[in-house]
Amino acid sequence: MKDVVVIVKNMWKYYSYMGQRIAILKGINATLYRGDIACIYGPSGAGKTTFLKILAGLERPDVGEVIVEGYNLTLLDDDALSMLRTTIVSYIPQDYGLIDDFTVYENVELPLLVSGVLEEERRVLILETLRYMGIADKMHTKVRYLSGGEKQRVAIARALVVTPSLLLADEPTANLDWENAKRVLELFTRINKDFKTTVVIVSHDARVLEFANRRFALYDGILKEV
């Protein structure tokens, strides 16, 4: 029997715009299993990022339930959601969410500092992760001097260093040429195989779909598995 990681039940999310309530996600239902690489494909403005942010606990749904690794996100307070982001879920935003003036090491160190990992253990974990990502030689370089592909790798390294069971990537290929994008997507596949991490990739690029074993389409706030 497959191990369930994410359950989304009848999830609705609304935004207020010019005094009107607009539904951005409409009754979404989905189940993701351990080891899945799910790709959510859809045009810009379809609600992909909002969906991912809800899974990461950065936003809350208005209606419905989101259960990640047995934790019902709708019932958790802000502190518990933050705790979830240091242990179970890692989110990689489209703009990488890195601090440009911190070095690669400092950026990757942040989640470990938050989780209270001791210095010696931190150093070992960071070095292992950076070697795995192939950016160990850039360890002391400030992020602002890196290329887009390298920044993406640093963002993945930061997400991976806490060995999450759910890795969420928002448009990981949007700022890259296809060659670099392919390398990043292959990296997600490798992470998925090596760590049994469930990976959710959101993209408007249909070419990303070939790297996924679960494919979803999100159009006008409605999610369908294809």
């Binding site: 950065l58 802000d78 502190d79 933050s82 705790m83 979830l84 982001r85 240091t86 242990t87 989110y91 935003p93 969410g97 890195l98 601090i99 440009d100 003036d101 911190f102 400092e106 950026n107 160190e109 942040l110 989640p111 500092l113 938050v114 989780s115 209270g116 930061r158």
Partner: protein, 132 residues
């Protein structure tokens, strides 16, 4: 929150461009208060200091946004993120208060500086705990 995050935040505040403006302002403030000291000067300088602080924060808005975004993503709690922003700002207030302390070492400025520096140190130490 780990003390290293707070120390990094102080370092980050000091290395942003807005801090250079605060430093230049603090230097001018010392001269201004020493050369033309009066109660009106003091009052005007206090208003200017608030504006300067606000300007320096505004000039570093993208950096602050980047910091808050990164802290949020890695799982820092909301109040810890708010604390980081306070530390970022307090570092600059401290520089301005040092300028007052040099130019106008009255009991008021000394006590203000004393309280502010203590608040800063207390915040760093008090919130430097390991989550568990």
């Amino acid at each position: 929150m780990h003390y290293k995050i707070l120390v990094k935040t102080v370092k980050y505040s000091v290395t942003r461009s807005g801090f250079s403006y605060v430093l230049l302002y603090a230097f001018s403030l010392v001269l201004y208060l020493i050369v033309c000291f009066s109660n009106v000067t003091l009052l005007v300088s206090l208003i200017l200091s608030v504006i300067m602080l606000y300007t320096s924060i505004l000039s570093d808005k993208p950096s602050i946004a980047q910091m808050i975004n990164a802290y949020n993503i890695v799982g820092l709690r909301r109040k810890e993120v708010a604390l980081s922003f306070c530390i970022f700002t307090y570092t600059r207030i401290l520089v301005i208060s040092i300028a007052y302390l040099i130019a106008y070492p009255s009991p008021t400025t000394i006590s203000y500086f004393f309280i502010l520096s203590n608040v800063l140190v207390a915040l760093i130490f008090h919130f430097s705990f390991r989550r568990g």
